[in-house]
Symmetry: C2
DNA sequence: GTCTATATTTGGATAGAC
DNA sequence: GTCTATCCAAATATAGAC
């Protein structure tokens, strides 16, 4: 039995995520990742033999799980509107009230490995699909459900851009508050 | 009289802008900038003695001017709704129909020099203010004008994130089409 | 003003001891 | 599993010829 890791996998992913989120993929240097993780560079390579790409993928896997959990009410609550509202609160938590950048934004600029880009796009698509399904269950037409879900995604993501630029989460908060109406019409 | 530059200032800024927009500040390497400019690294340093930071600032100055021009109808047209519609078309052009990233997004991640961050924020603030002024002239209350302008900004920026993620400019296009209604209520 | 050549630093990645 | 030490490549920046 080998020595137990000094940082649990989920904790490690969370710490790395913070760096990738703030700095983007290319801006996230191994030095910064190492410092945030509380591990030396070589130790990071022990945990992630494929290096930075693998760290980014682990981060996105973690984000995917966190999102899946936050979206559970929207997916399962028989009261569609209540489910959307509950998920909105959880999403608010994921983004620190709207002052944290989104990895689907910061990790998808040019120069990012295709596997990483794709992973991020999958998470976004899953989020949008879930919102569209909820809108559909709420009685909207297939096409209206889809477009309103896409627009809601844009409003939330843009709200985060605004939050990063001005340190003001107003637009993000309004987007989440209005989420039920945006989706259900 | 020295030798005339092989690339005009505005052209040069445009070419550099393309790299910064796609790759972000940290991802924009001097090699990529040099290639896009059609100039050797050393020649770039002749034009921008302070290096990459100065290049980024020049790009943002250029973006500021382009935006000022695109927003002119919204600022000046006595028919407020018509002015918003005309500016929306010009903004559409600036973003290549919604498939180009926004420098206010890609150049404001962590690790970006403060002067650059600030410049980007100023452009965004100027854009939002202009939209708020138009909404105000269109008869909305001061606070409703401001929040609708912020929300419109978020919707457009988020539309660009969606465009980059999926190569689908739908949300961006809808945001611009709905811009008059978003601002005027 | 642009170029070739080079200096300097930083970043990603590996080897091997404990 | 984590560490120190090191390698190698890439990136920023400069010197000096044309």
């Amino acid at each position: 039995m080998a020595r137990p890791p000094s940082v649990r996998d989920d904790d490690l992913s969370d710490r790395l995520a913070e760096v990738f989120r703030e700095a983007g993929y290319e801006g996230a240097s191994l030095g910064a990742l190492s410092e945030a993780a509380g591990l030396r560079r070589a130790s990071l390579y022990h945990r992630f033999p494929d290096g930075k790409v693998q760290m980014a993928e682990a981060v996105l896997e973690r984000v995917e799980r966190l999102f899946a959990h936050a979206l559970q009410p929207m997916r399962e609550d028989p009261d569609v509107r209540a489910g959307i509202t509950r998920s909105a609160r959880l999403i608010d938590g994921l983004y620190g009230g709207g002052l944290l950048s989104c990895v689907m934004d910061s990790m998808t600029l040019g120069g990012v490995p295709e596997t990483v880009r794709q992973r991020a796009a999958e998470i976004a698509e899953s989020w949008i699909s879930t919102m569209a399904d909820a809108a559909r269950r709420g009685g909207r037409s297939r096409s209206a459900a889809r477009t309103s879900a896409e627009d809601a995604f844009a409003l939330v993501e843009g709200g985060l851009v605004h939050g990063r630029l001005f340190g003001d989460s107003g637009p993000f908060q309004r987007a989440l508050t209005r989420l039920p109406d945006l989706l259900l019409g």
